[in-house]
């Protein structure tokens, strides 16, 4: 079967040969956190920081920042703690990554969690992938040129659509399969068999929300309030609000009067921020939002709606007990005034992933997580960090998921 390879070199290749190459361990294997791996990642990070084209994309800069040397060193130390007196962490083998088509850097985070602990990797890149992916592959290949044989044979990225036979051929030899990209993708790929010993990590559609303690917000001076708006903007608008961890529901905790006052200030600041950053939604996005808003009004307890302009639409909910988790993206917020955080706890569902917060103490958030006891929400982070990738994602410890523990007595 011929496929289009992007990494280690852009060329047409025979899939069977590629898979045989990835399984061929005669050239040696990498142990977790081997120096070659750390060095390659640090070099890649530096090259991405310096690349003139990559500089234009904040998400590529964020990726470079995340892969910088000091961060990797920190991860290495964290990894050491996975060791116990009688267990030894080892790689799982060949990891097949199926990232989403339209968050342009997820595939790299998926890859790094796997490569760090010494796994070999094959990634499916969607034909719909954006320019950012092309840039990453170019920089990646340049770095591979300078790397040793063992790194050059570690990773293959290929581009293909939804051809089941390719997915099946790769799945048949995988030791771990990682599926990102929504319920439909997870279901489609899951229908393709994996070997009995193969482990699968799936990242289906998720929903995220944000909570603000009204009194703390109102106590801020103007500069700090504008900063809150800027943080919220980053969380929400960066991937057109379609990243799973971008908030879609904003909950104010406080009295109705105070929350309504705070919301008015916040939405004004947020709208200014949206304009200042030059966020632009095209006609299709606008139409989509208007239709979504109309449907929400008919099907959900929406009491009022504000179309500040088409870049920011807010639908005020009367209650959130049965909130429909469908969403249109592009700057659409459901808003709810809650007396206290317990009310929020009532509405949390399995699908909820990230809760960003402002005006609460981490201990209060820990208490909330305790109260929920696994019903939903896998990440609770301060406002502004919704999109910051972390080894703990969707309830998994990705580093730990990518290794086997060998027990030695």
């Amino acid at each position: 079967m011929k496929v289009q390879q992007l990494v280690p070199r852009a060329e047409e290749v025979v899939l069977e040969e590629i898979l045989a190459g990835l399984r061929d361990i005669s050239g040696g294997t990498l142990s977790p956190l081997a120096p070659e791996i750390l060095e390659f990642c640090a070099n890649f990070s530096r090259a991405l920081f310096k690349d003139a084209e990559a500089k234009r994309f904040p998400e590529l800069q964020a990726l470079a920042f995340w892969m910088r040397k000091s961060e990797l060193e920190r991860l290495r130390q964290e990894f050491d703690r996975l060791n116990t007196k009688s267990t030894l962490p080892v790689p799982r083998g060949l990891v097949f990554h199926v990232p989403p088509a339209n968050v342009d850097t997820i595939f790299m985070y998926s890859w790094i969690m796997s490569v760090l602990v010494g796994n070999r990797n094959i990634l499916r890149i969607s034909p719909r992938a954006a320019q950012q992916t092309t840039i990453i592959c170019r920089v990646f290949n340049d770095c591979l040129e300078a790397a040793g044989e063992i790194m050059r044979r570690n990773t293959v990225m290929i581009r293909y659509g939804h051809e089941q036979e390719i997915t099946a051929a790769i799945s048949a030899v995988a030791d771990v399969r990682v599926i990102w990209g929504g319920d439909a993708s997870v279901n489609n790929i899951r229908a393709v068999r994996i070997p009995p010993h193969c482990k699968e990590l799936a990242f289906p559609d998720r929903y995220s929300l944000s909570v603000v303690r009204t009194s703390n917000y109102l106590a801020l001076d103007e500069t700090k309030r504008k900063d809150v708006a800027a943080q919220f903007y980053n969380d929400t608008y960066w991937f057109d609000q379609m990243a799973c961890s971008s908030p879609r529901l904003l909950v104010w905790c406080g009295s109705k009067e105070e929350s309504s006052k705070a919301s008015a200030i916040f939405l004004r600041d947020l709208h200014e921020e949206v304009q200042r950053r030059g966020y632009a939604l095209d006609a299709s996005g606008s139409m989509n939002k208007f239709t979504f808003l109309s449907r929400a009004i008919l099907d959900q307890p929406v009491v009022s709606a504000q179309q500040v302009d088409n870049q920011l639409t807010v639908a005020q909910l009367e209650n959130i007990r049965h909130l429909d988790r469908d969403h249109c993206g592009g700057g659409f917020l459901f808003q709810y005034y809650a007396e206290g955080i317990e009310v929020l706890a009532q509405c949390v569902a399995r699908k909820d992933q990230t809760l960003t917060y402002f005006g609460f103490e981490p201990s209060e958030m820990a208490a909330l997580a305790q109260l929920l006891n696994g019903r939903g929400i896998d990440r609770i982070v301060p406002m502004g960090k919704a999109l910051t990738f972390n080894r703990y994602w969707d309830g998994y410890d990705l580093l730990a998921e990518m290794i086997r523990h060998v027990y030695v007595e």
Binding site: P100, A101, N102, V103, D104, I106, R128, A130, W180, G181, G182, D183, A184, S185, F203, D205, R206, F239, D240, Q241, M242, A243, C244, L281, D282, A283, S284, G285, S286, M287, N288, F290, T291, F292, L293, S294, R295, I297, L298, V302, V303, S304, A305, Q307, D309, N310, Q311, D326, H327, C328, G329, G330
Partner: protein
């Protein structure tokens, strides 16, 4: 002026200022009627336009997103009064619009269509070529918009001839026989734009048939022809060169507003009939866009009584080119349709978004 009086007026004869007032009165009445009788419409208006009472200009009227007819049952009459349900012809798996008609609305639609078509075809019914498969109307239980459109148009012609067989092949022999029979007198042709191009224009050899006495009315959208880079001008020029057909009129219409179709005038632009109007809105603010600026088309029509479709925000882009000043002497707004809003892909983790605009 009542709807019946409007019907009696010649098409495109009302100066815009006068027409605007008539439409405004009529649409304000319709808005009240639907708010009283369609709970969904009433809820949408009360949330989206909380302070709204009555429009002072056409642009102030509330409007519904066209996609709602696919997801919700929007009806202003009791169930037992539903006389006919129209559905849009979506492809398999796509949600389709559902439009509920009572007898009166259906009558208004056909009366309106008749006045518009008479303007194009003249008072007499002409022999008619349908660039359609004879199989289309065999299954009368499924009333697709395409079949409804064809049936609606058939009443404006006589001695109907289906130019395509069941396999969509051109019946050349039948076509020649039809032309022989009309014997140099005018005849009426109707079909969907793309089908005319693909199954008629592309299947006939240069000058092998003489359609110079034909009057062609066609619609259904330009999406497929845009892919082939065939513009309206090109379409007309090529047809004229190959067949002599020179009276070619494109029209624009939605299943959500059957009966008030916008037919091309002599200047190549689309004209709003007496009972209808268009507004172009800026997709960034939903404010009316200045003349000559592209935006999202909103269509207004006095016809819909049984469902709240009198003011609909479409998913099409258009431009208004002028008012009352067309060279052909028609009054009212004239505009062009630029096609569907191009679908942009929002980024995100998920590959499939259930809530995205479909179709």
């Amino acid at each position: 002026m009542k709807f019946d009086d409007l019907l009696k007026l010649p098409q495109y004869s009302l100066p815009y200022a006068e027409k605007e007032q008539i439409l405004l009165d009529g649409l304000n009445e319709l808005d009240e009627h639907h708010r009283r009788n369609c709970p969904e419409y009433n809820r949408l208006v009360s949330v989206l336009w909380p302070d709204y009472r009555k429009a002072r200009t056409l642009a102030e009227l509330p409007y519904l997103a066209v996609g709602l007819f696919k997801s919700h049952r929007l009806c202003s009459i009791p169930k037992e009064k539903i006389f006919k349900t129209l559905t849009s012809s979506g492809t398999t798996g796509q949600a389709v619009s559902q439009i509920f008609l009572d007898v009166e609305t259906a009558q208004r639609q056909s009366a309106s269509l008749s006045r518009i078509m008479t303007h194009v075809l003249g008072p007499n019914r002409l022999p008619m070529i349908l660039v359609e498969s004879s199989a289309l109307l065999k299954d009368r239980t499924r009333f697709s918009a395409r079949a409804a459109g064809v049936l609606g148009m058939m009443t404006f012609g006589r001695d109907h001839f289906y130019a395509l067989d069941e396999k969509m092949d051109l019946d050349e022999k039948g076509l020649h026989a039809f032309l022989e029979k009309v014997n140099g007198k005018p005849f009426f042709m109707f079909g969907f734009t793309f089908m005319i191009w693909q199954y008629l224009y592309q299947r006939i050899a240069d000058r092998s048939v003489d359609l110079s006495q034909g009057i062609l009315v066609h619609g259904g959208g330009w999406k497929k022809l845009q892919e082939l880079a065939v513009s309206n001008d090109e379409f007309k020029r090529r047809l004229r060169e190959k067949t002599g057909l020179s009276r070619i009129y494109n029209f624009y219409g939605l299943v959500e507003q059957v009966g008030s179709i916008y037919v091309e005038g002599d200047n190549g632009y689309l004209f709003a009939p007496n009972y209808a109007d268009v507004i172009v809105r800026d997709p960034l603010t939903w404010e009316p866009a200045p003349m000559g600026t592209p935006g999202v088309l909103q269509v207004l029509s006095l016809l819909p009584l049984s469902y709240p479709g009198h003011s609909v925000l479409t998913e099409d882009l258009g431009i208004i080119h002028g008012i009352d000043d067309s060279a052909g002497g028609r009054y009212g707004k004239y505009f062009s349709v630029l096609g569907r809003i191009p679908k942009a892909e929002l980024r995100g983790c998920s590959d499939v978004h259930a809530s995205q605009v479909s179709g």
